[in-house]
Amino acid sequence: MLKKLKVEASTLANIDKELEVPKAWLDGARKEGKLRVFSTFDPGQFEALSRPFKERHPYINIEYSRASHEDRAIRTLVAYKNKKIVTDIITGLGGSYFMFKEIGALDDMRMIPNLKNNPPETVDPEGLWAGMHMRYWCMAYNTRQLKKEEMPKRWDDVLTNPKLRNGNLAIGNRPQLWALSLWKANGEKWAKEFLTKLFNDVKPQLRREGMNAMLELSAAGEFNATIPSAEYRTYQKQLDGAPVSYHCPEPVPIAVSEMGILKGAPNVNAARIFVNWFLSKEGQIAQYVADYAPPVHKDLRRKEFVPFADEILPKKGAFRDPAIEVEIQPKLLTFWDELWMRGGGKRRGL
């Protein structure tokens, strides 16, 4: 796997050493024998990315389930409050992180060695969560309808771009993925004006399908561009032969997907070993290979590990960290819901 990528040898040095963990953990993991993970990877991809881990630790049987955000977070929380720990590792906490913190559901992970590989803004100071990969939320577009040069350079340009008007642009119902970072970066006033004009002037198609299904639709030509779209998924579709590509207006909304261990998890040793492995070079590269998810490891933030690197890396970024979530998110969401329900200037068919 690693050879396929033609990565510099120096990057791959010391992989094994990086993966050393206290013996107590290994013994504990042997006794536990299993590990439960809740995440958003599709099972095939998780299978692929965890293969190197399984080679190293064949005695740990991983039970993986995939569930969308609300279900995962809600169920885990409600179960936790009722003294049931339904998983060991949970990822993609997002805004519900604070709820987990409030009830003390997350374990302190600061003793995990490879936590230090993560840049400071991608780790919780108290060690309750660690970023597992970078995520960029920009625009995907249909290359038959739009050319790269026509794409808006800054977010403000989205409002004035003629080719994105009147239903040529589709937006999904997840502002916290992209608009949140923009709000933080450009300020509340800007954000409110921008969103209002987006709904009222640009009149995009509001879609119920998930972000990924919307990508398919734009490939089919149902609309020319879609917001927000994740880089890894767009890349996968492009590899499938779909006429889609990826573009990021500035500033680029950057997020990190969080991973945490539930406090009191029965398979805590296996969990720690896994998190440690995941945050190592091997784990991060395995993830990239399986999913095209950009590594968060500070030594791997490089072009060859970021799809559409030219679109993303040179530009100014707007980072979304959990702190701003608790502060800004409720305001954003109330504002957004209002606009969304209004339909942004109703166009009725029949």
Binding site: R36, D42, P43, F46, E47, Y64, S65, R66, A67, S68, E70, D71, I74, R75, L77, V78, A79, K81, N82, K84, V86, G95, S96, M99, A170, N173, P175, Q176, L206, R207, R208, E209, G210, N212, A213, L215, E216, L217, A219, A220, G221, E222, F223, R233, K237, G241, A242, E325, Q329, L333, D337, W340, M341, G343, G344, K346, R347, R348, G349, L350
Partner: protein, 572 residues
């Protein structure tokens, strides 16, 4: 001896159903007052009317009412009209090829809603819809003639979706009409149309209204069609609002708000249940019951046979074949694209290969099989006993029992899911949580409403004297059940069983909440996750396979049932 064994049995059924139904109800009502972040944190200090205030003081909520009203009335009108015509053709005329209707109509029951909506988007989207594009090129039009993203589009598609269940409920109604009532009219000088209007329709009216009420509640609750087809046009209905609240942008879904909204459904359910039961008791009065089986008069279509059959084929084409062709086509694509020569050149089998290797397809299928079988069987058995008490006994609470069985139909699947999720967490001395049994129980509570409608209607057909003859012949109640009721009701049992199987396979709302991991992952969750991941062609592949298997299932069962019917029908 204060209570006979019979009465004990009646109490047992009553208590069991009350328990089963009251859990989600209780949760719905209580949760609507809860402003706690987690849906299951009930405590006095988080209880308030705030949710209600928020939801009902929002002028946006009331705008929804108009849309919802149009949407529901329109789709029910279309759905009931089509199913009425189909049921009438099948039961009251001498049309040929009836087995196509019997087999074909229920097939759409198992199609996931989002898949069906997607199929129609591909057919009638103003930008890429295949039909639109063809029409545009044939007639040299500038703009696409039909826009599926419209209230009309939503009404049409939902109307088509309501047909199978309405059909299944109307067929027994048609079958039970006493021909002499119509013959009396004919002899009194009334022409066929007049007889139809004054006699037939009047007699069918209560049953028809009952079916309409039931389907109106179905249309109210469904969210995939209005979601996918309505949103791009900015059209909101009540169910989309509820689901928007639940799966919304909020970082933790506001279930309290959703519950407050869903209370409207409960109120509607209570009101309609009242009218519904009144309708049903009128049906009972109008249904002439005898111990002799007979078939109502068959109307001779004459020259109209062929147009009628063409009409049926048209329906089957629109509702079943066309979407199926779309799925089949999409299932061979790498990525979504409108049909074209270029597209046809890129056809691939990779989606089917993907399915074969996708994580837990094997275990999902096994889980689904188990869950579906348990649910269907449990629903049939429970509905039967509930019906026995409601229709045949003198138990004081039997009307209440009937209403209790009906009400869950009004509760959105997600709300049911959370209610049971919470209950199973609490009741942790029983190892139900996180298993397929949890889903089976939750589903049964919901499907009970359909099961009891069917069983009630069928049980009314069984003449009381057939039961009494068994008693005086020495058969105790259990033996009478086994030797008389069961065989006579077997067609209904099979019908309900199949209906439940088809629905349990398709519905994702409740299972998603109760899903814990590979041990209780079922097909609908798999489909939903794949969809969410954006593997649209793969989902289309599943849809294609699903429809093919169901076609085989329904044809097989109908063929067997049909032949038995032909053998059993009296010469009289």
């Amino acid at each position: 001896m204060t209570l006979s064994r019979l009465q004990l049995g009646q109490y047992a059924v009553f208590l069991f159903v009350s328990l089963l139904v009251s859990m989600p109800l209780f949760f719905l009502v209580l949760g609507s007052f809860s402003t706690a972040k987690l849906p299951t944190d009930f405590s006095l200090d988080t209880m308030s009317l705030q949710n209600y205030v928020k939801v009902y003081s929002d002028p946006g909520t009331f705008e929804l009412f108009t849309n919802t009203l149009i949407y529901v009335t329109g789709s029910v009108a279309i759905g009931i009209t089509i199913s009425f015509v189909l049921a009438w053709l099948v039961e009251r005329t001498n049309m040929q090829g009836k087995i196509w209707i019997y087999a074909g109509v229920p097939m759409t029951l198992a199609m996931p809603g989002m898949l069906q909506a997607m199929a129609w988007v591909l057919l009638l989207s103003p930008r890429i819809g295949f039909i639109n594009k063809s029409l545009q090129s044939i007639f040299a039009l500038d703009q696409a003639p039909i826009n599926i993203y419209s209230l009309g589009g939503m009404v049409f598609i939902e109307g088509l979706r309501l047909v199978p269940t309405a059909f299944l409920m109307l067929v027994p109604l048609m079958r039970s009409m006493d021909p002499s009532l119509e013959e009396a009219a004919a002899v009194s000088g009334a022409r066929p149309l007049s007889t139809a209007r004054k006699i037939t329709l009047r007699l069918l009216a209560p049953g028809l209204v009952a079916v309409m009420i039931y389907q109106a509640m179905t249309a109210l609750e469904v969210f995939e069609i209005p979601g996918i087809l309505g949103l791009p046009a900015g059209i909101y209905v009540f169910s989309t609002k509820i689901y928007a609240v639940v799966r919304s942008a909020t970082f933790l879904p506001a279930y309290g708000l959703a519950n407050a909204l869903a209370m409207v459904y409960l109120v509607i359910a209570l009101v309609t249940t009242y009218f519904y039961t009144r309708m049903i008791s009128r049906v009972e009065r109008f249904t002439i019951i005898t111990g002799k089986g007979y078939r109502p008069r068959q109307f001779d279509l004459g020259r109209w046979r062929y147009p009628a059959f063409a009409l049926v084929l048209l329906y089957l084409f629109l509702a079943v074949l066309l979407p199926f062709l779309v799925f089949a086509y999409v299932s061979f694509l790498s990525f979504l694209q409108a049909p074209s020569v270029a597209a046809l050149q890129t056809l691939t089998l990779k989606n089917y290969r993907f399915l074969a290797q996708y994580g837990e397809v094997g275990s999902a299928l096994r889980n689904t099989l188990l869950m579906v079988l348990v649910t269907a069987t449990a629903t049939v058995i429970l509905s039967f006993f509930v019906s026995l008490v409601v229709v045949r006994s003198k138990f004081w609470g039997r009307k209440l029992l009937d209403q209790l069985a009906f009400v869950p139909h009004a509760i959105p699947g997600i709300v049911m899911g959370i209610a049971f999720f919470w209950v199973f967490l609490k009741v942790d001395f029983l190892p139900i949580y996180g298993t397929v049994w949890a889903m089976a129980i939750g589903f049964t509570a919901g499907f009970l409403s359909y099961g009891t409608r069917s069983m009630n209607a069928a049980l009314l057909q069984v003449h009381k004297e057939l039961e009494e003859a068994a008693y005086v012949s020495g058969a105790r109640p259990w033996r009478t059940l086994w030797r008389v009721f069961l065989p006579l009701m077997m067609p209904t049992f099979v019908g309900v069983w199949i209906w439940v199987v088809l629905h349990a396979v398709r519905i994702a709302g409740l299972p998603l909440i109760l899903y814990e991991g590979p041990q209780n992952q079922v097909l609908s969750i798999l489909i939903w996750n794949m969809w969410d991941e954006g593997y649209v062609p793969a989902v289309a592949a599943i849809g294609t396979l699903l429809m093919l298997s169901l076609l085989l299932l329904t044809v097989a069962v109908r063929y067997i049932g049909f032949r038995r019917q032909l053998v059993q029908s009296p010469a009289v």
